[in-house]
């Protein structure tokens, strides 16, 4: 009888916990908030309730002297978009250990990998204990912004402006309405090329205009090189980059959403220029190829000179092919009669701090620790990335990227506005791949094929 009673009790206990666990999200928030408060020790509570002015002063002092405040008893939960075995993950762990040693704060990193974008929103909505997390800047500024801490004041106190790329922070501020996250691992798009081939062909200056670019391509062909690698997955990136130079991002976005490609002279001109480019034999053999076959040829054959992509292409090619290509980079050339050519595709991952974090200042300081100074340089070197702090130096293979990022005022989005039509972008992409496969004889035919999708 006793046993039965106990088993019944256990069963009902199980059921109750389950029901409690599946309550509505508002309840969970209160519950978890309550439990975290209970968990926090008296000491840390005393510390966190210390006035913010004191903290800010301490931090400003810290920024100036390079010393960090004492955060003993503070515990930060960090959801990372990396895995612990990846170079980025390793540097993150190292930085966390160093930060803990210097400040006494404890940082619990949870490795969520790239799928963080599918799980973090639910965690934020239920108020799960996360102090800071990583994802792309666009997700930070649009999807999660309501759950993010406004970092404006802390950034001003830490002189963050002088340790960041303006175009990246501006993007976050403009999109979210406030500084919602700290950019890390910046990305920049443009033409990445093998300097050795340029040198062998006697090309001393990187082409700034479409005419110079075509002339450089012809020189490369004359010297037995193949100018441009292209994998079909980046076909839309290449075409929209060129189209941006002719008609600009806003016009592309408008066309993507509403159609009318044939009525736009710029579209026909841009498509025709690309068709002529292909017909002149400037694409590498087999391009458009299946990713990453064509870009790999830059490393494998040593005969393919350039690729239009974002900066990660350099380390991808080096790693895939086991070669050390002598990489250089320049901004996509200007097209005569087109629009402002100074902007490049730019984006980043970003570290967001939750609006309900109990230790936003400590979290912010850790974000600074990671994205400026020693560990930012380490991240750039170890993971072959552009440093988040422009005063650091980019690895040799990313030569030119910092300058391009600094020159960019209004960064292009991925595919320069084409993806604004979520419902059609996959079909538009197929038509663009078709353009590089030689399916259309003229710019008009291409534009008509784009319009046929509407």
């Amino acid at each position: 009888m006793k046993k039965k009673l106990i088993s019944l009790l256990l069963v009902s206990a199980m059921a109750t916990t389950m029901i409690a666990g599946c309550g509505s999200s508002t309840e969970t928030t209160t519950e978890s908030a309550a439990s975290t408060t209970a968990e926090t020790t008296a000491e840390s509570t005393a510390e966190t309730t210390a006035s913010t002015t004191e903290e800010t002063t301490a931090d400003t002092a810290a920024a100036e002297t390079g010393e960090l405040p004492d955060y003993s008893g503070v515990e930060l939960t960090y959801w990372s978009m990396w895995n612990s075995a990846e170079p980025q993950g390793q540097v993150l762990q190292e930085a966390a250990d160093a930060f803990s040693e210097q400040t006494g704060a404890k940082i619990n990193i949870e490795w969520k990998g790239r799928d963080i974008k599918t799980i973090v929103m639910a965690a934020l909505e239920s108020g799960e204990k996360i102090d800071m997390f990583e994802d792309s800047d666009s997700n930070m500024a649009t999807v999660y912004k309501d759950y993010l801490y406004d970092l404006t004041d802390m950034a001003a106190a830490a002189d963050y402006e002088n340790h960041s790329f303006k175009c990246l922070t501006d993007y976050l501020v403009n999109k979210a309405g406030f500084l919602c996250a700290i950019p890390e691992q910046p990305q920049v798009g443009g033409v990445f090329y093998n300097k050795d081939i340029f040198e062998a062909c006697g090309i001393t200056e990187v082409p700034a205009t479409w005419e110079d670019y075509l002339a450089a391509c012809q020189t490369m062909v004359d010297n037995g090189y193949q100018p441009l690698a292209l994998d079909s997955t980046y076909a839309d990136f290449l075409f929209t980059y060129h189209l941006d130079r002719v008609i600009g991002t806003e016009a592309i976005s408008d066309l993507a959403v509403n159609g009318g490609w044939s009525e736009n002279e710029g579209v026909i001109q841009a498509a025709q220029q690309q068709i002529d480019f292909i017909n002149a034999g400037y694409l590498a053999d087999g391009a458009p190829d299946e990713y990453p076959a064509s870009q790999n040829k830059i490393g494998l054959t040593g005969e393919v000179a350039m690729v239009v992509c974002a900066n990660y292409v350099a380390s991808e090619v080096n790693n895939n092919t086991g070669t050390e290509v002598n990489w250089g980079m320049f901004n996509y050339p200007e097209v005569e009669g087109g629009v402002d050519p100074s902007n490049a595709y730019a984006g980043s991952n970003a570290i967001g701090i939750t609006s309900y974090s109990e230790n936003p200042q400590a979290a912010f300081d850790f974000a600074m620790f990671l994205t400026t100074g020693e560990y930012d340089q380490k991240m750039a070197d170890t993971a072959s990335q552009i440093p988040a702090d422009p005063s650091n130096t980019a690895p040799a293979m990313l030569d030119g990227t910092i300058e391009t990022l600094q020159a960019t005022v209004n960064p292009l989005t991925w595919n320069a506005g084409l993806n604004d039509n979520a419902d059609l972008k996959t079909s538009l992409k197929d038509v663009i791949i078709g353009l590089y496969e030689g399916r259309y004889a003229t710019g008009e035919e291409f534009a008509a094929a784009m319009d046929a999708l509407y």
Binding site: K4, S7, L8, V11, S12, M14, A15, M18, I19, C22, S24, S25, T26, K117, T118, M121, A122, E125, S126, S136, S138, N139, A141, T142, V143, S232, T233, Y234, D236, D285, G286, D289, E290, Y291, A293, T413, W414, N415, L418, N419, D420, A422, D423, L424, K425, T426, S427, K429, D430, I433, G434, E437, L453
Partner: protein, 308 residues
């Protein structure tokens, strides 16, 4: 009431409490983990919602708006047509080849165990590795297996992964990996058929073909139904191969409904927009498809008319 009966009743009552006690966790788990998400998804498909886990208070009623959105989307329609092609063409190929292999392997050939393992092997290998192998080593236009073979006989290489052929290349690779699984199910079905039926048929002068069409096939009805249902579910939830054949961002030639659902719910490269309501509508449409296919196969393939 006689005393012994009241004892019985008491015992039964106690038993009932025990039964309820033991069933409760399982029933509750099922309700919470299965029925709740299903009902919530159905409900969500009629509301405008940004995030999957958004509080119900933030939902706004949208009627059939989400359904209108997805059926008005060229990409969703393309993905449905791709799914249908995979189901029909892939289904005919996979089930025919699987059945053929199953019949051959149960016909008493030598090295049966080896072949069975070899054909099943792709199911053990991660689909990511398998897809990478197909993309990089078999379809590669410079040094891929297929083009090397074509060149060996003096033919020109083909661009297997161009927009025109990419879908079929993906389907062929998928079929290669899927055959083993269905073959195993067919084998188990064939081995269940009593040997004396074949012996009697042989004595009566039936050849192997007669035996296959008159004995094996009719007695495999139930198994065919199982395989068809599994294949349908497999096709409708097709995701990874499409992702592998269109890295970075989805392409119309390989997109399938689940990829469309994923992109819609979680945003995609260069577009952070999220629409959980439309995603839920896609989920409901797919669930209805599974239901329809199950009903049709159940109606046309009754497996209870033969006993053996």
């Amino acid at each position: 009431m006689p005393p012994f009966l009241s004892e019985e009743v008491k015992k039964m009552k106690k038993n009932k409490a025990m039964i309820v006690g033991f069933i409760l966790p399982c029933a509750l788990t099922l309700l919470v983990m299965y029925l709740y998400p299903v009902l919530r998804t159905i409900l969500m498909s009629f509301f405008a919602i940004d995030s999957v886990t958004a509080d119900v208070g933030t939902w706004s009623f949208n009627g059939f708006g989400n359904y209108a959105r997805i059926f008005g989307s060229a990409t969703f329609l393309t993905s449905l047509s791709n799914m249908l092609k995979i189901w029909l063409v892939g289904g005919i190929l996979v089930l025919t080849i699987a059945l053929l292999f199953a019949v051959i392997l149960t016909s008493g050939i030598r090295f049966k165990k080896f072949f069975r393992a070899a054909i099943y092997l792709p199911n053990v290998i991660s689909a990511v590795a398998l897809a990478t192998m197909w993309i990089q080593y078999i379809y590669n236009q410079d040094y891929g297996l297929l083009n090397s073979m074509l060149e060996m006989v003096g033919l020109e290489g083909v661009k297997w992964l161009g927009t025109d052929t990419k879908f079929w290349a993906m389907l062929a690779a998928f079929v290669f990996g899927a055959v083993g699984y269905y073959m195993l199910i067919f084998i188990s079905g064939i081995e269940r058929i009593p040997q004396d039926l074949y012996e009697a048929a042989t004595i009566d002068g039936a050849n192997k073909f007669h035996q296959f069409f008159r004995i094996t096939l009719p007695l495999l009805k139930g198994i065919i139904k199982t395989n068809l249902t599994f294949w349908s579910i497999n096709t409708i939830t097709f995701f990874l191969w499409s992702k592998m054949f269109s890295p970075i961002s989805s392409e119309a030639s390989t997109i399938v409904p689940v990829v469309y659902l994923y992109d819609t719910v979680f945003g995609s490269t260069g577009n952070a927009e999220r629409d959980a309501g439309a995603g839920a509508a896609v989920g409901v449409v797919l669930a209805i498809f599974v239901g329809i296919i199950y009903l049709i196969t159940s109606k046309f393939l009754k497996d209870d008319d033969l006993e053996f």
